[in-house]
Symmetry: C2
């Protein structure tokens, strides 16, 4: 009827746009998988929530599993460059460590879907992540900056010696992920919303204190 093939102003506003369609499917699928888990998500439901059809999902991603893997990989890649955002080499080790912990805290808080996807992937024993081509690139960004801070702190006699970068990374992740991943059971049982904005600063400071007090504890004693 009154189809305008191109708008009079701005970009052509194409009716067909593969990238746009792909991206829209991925967005909706991310929300759907994160909300219902792999088995619980419905391809029909994802299709219905896009402006396209189920046929397109299979056209672009081949299968439900292919779609899930694409969602998972995009989510991991979105979080990949986190640590590199931060230039901590000019800060003293204690401040650098706190900055890194707080950056991780903020980043996790603003990516709840990612955390839920990680939980879901763990339910499935990480079988999709383990065979993903993006896997080899995930370890270094998370550990390199942390390792450098830790090393500087140890050399200056500030940090304890009996933990490595992965241990510290685990503590930071555990704290940040727990708030989101276990939010619902925690709230049901204890009637406290861990993601309440009014408590965010408290928890952010708490994480920094936790990591720093631990790392700097009793250094120098026999």
């Amino acid at each position: 009827m009154s189809a305008e093939p191109s708008g009079p102003v701005g970009t052509p506003e194409r009716q067909r746009d593969a990238e746009r369609t792909r991206a829209e499917i991925l967005d909706i699928a991310t929300a759907e998988f994160a909300d219902r888990g792999y088995a619980g998500a419905r391809v029909d439901e994802i299709a219905a929530r896009t402006r396209t059809t189920k046929r397109m999902i299979y056209y672009y991603f081949g299968s439900k599993e292919g779609l899930y893997v694409a969602v998972l990989e995009r989510a991991y890649q979105g979080i990949r460059a986190l640590e590199q955002q931060l230039d901590v080499d000019h800060l003293d080790p204690a401040r650098a460590m706190r900055a890194l912990a707080e950056l991780t805290f903020d980043h996790h808080e603003s990516h709840p879907a990612f955390i839920r996807l990680v939980s879901i992937e763990n339910i499935h024993h990480a079988e999709h992540l383990r065979t993903s081509p993006i896997l080899p690139g995930l370890a270094a960004p998370a550990v390199d900056v942390l390792g450098r801070i830790l090393e500087r702190g140890r050399r200056s006699g500030l940090f304890r010696e009996d933990v490595d970068a992965l241990d510290v990374h685990m503590v930071i992740s555990a704290f940040c992920i727990f708030r989101t991943a276990n939010r619902h059971t925690f709230q049901a049982i204890f009637d406290r919303d861990l993601l309440d904005p009014g408590r965010r600063d408290h928890y952010r400071r708490m994480l920094g204190d936790l990591v720093l007090e631990y790392l700097t504890a009793h250094v120098g004693r026999a």
Copy 2:
């Protein structure tokens, strides 16, 4: 044919035993739900792995959801009396806190299915736990003992004042649950098995240090 209604030695070994059947269904279902999630678990598969049939599952539990709720409730009740096992009132606050943290650590380590069920229940926004009759009894055991230790520690000027029992509980839970719940993605990315028995003592001590150094940090300064 050669059916012996009662064995010549020992217990009668009844062929019909409602409690036994119920318990067996619950055991298998716990493993199955923990392994595959709610939507991923198959009632037929659970039935096939018991010595009874699918009809019995519906006879005893009414629906897949009813079975899942029964599994979840039993898992929570199994962990319920944890803190009461421990008589920490005769220990000084620091030792008591460490004992509690380590007990939690050991308990979580030996109940991986419970932790996976908690993850799964969080995927489902705790909707089943929230309506469960066992919910009201879950908060107190986890927090009461912890609260008493914290209170004693604060009164004696040993512990900091800016955290409450729920905060400390969160830290301990986050650490313990992360090791199990995120084991697979962590191992895939960093090639480190957080549940490796050779690392257990390291992590147990690490948790105790983490909590104590945090709680006792800088107490007394302005």
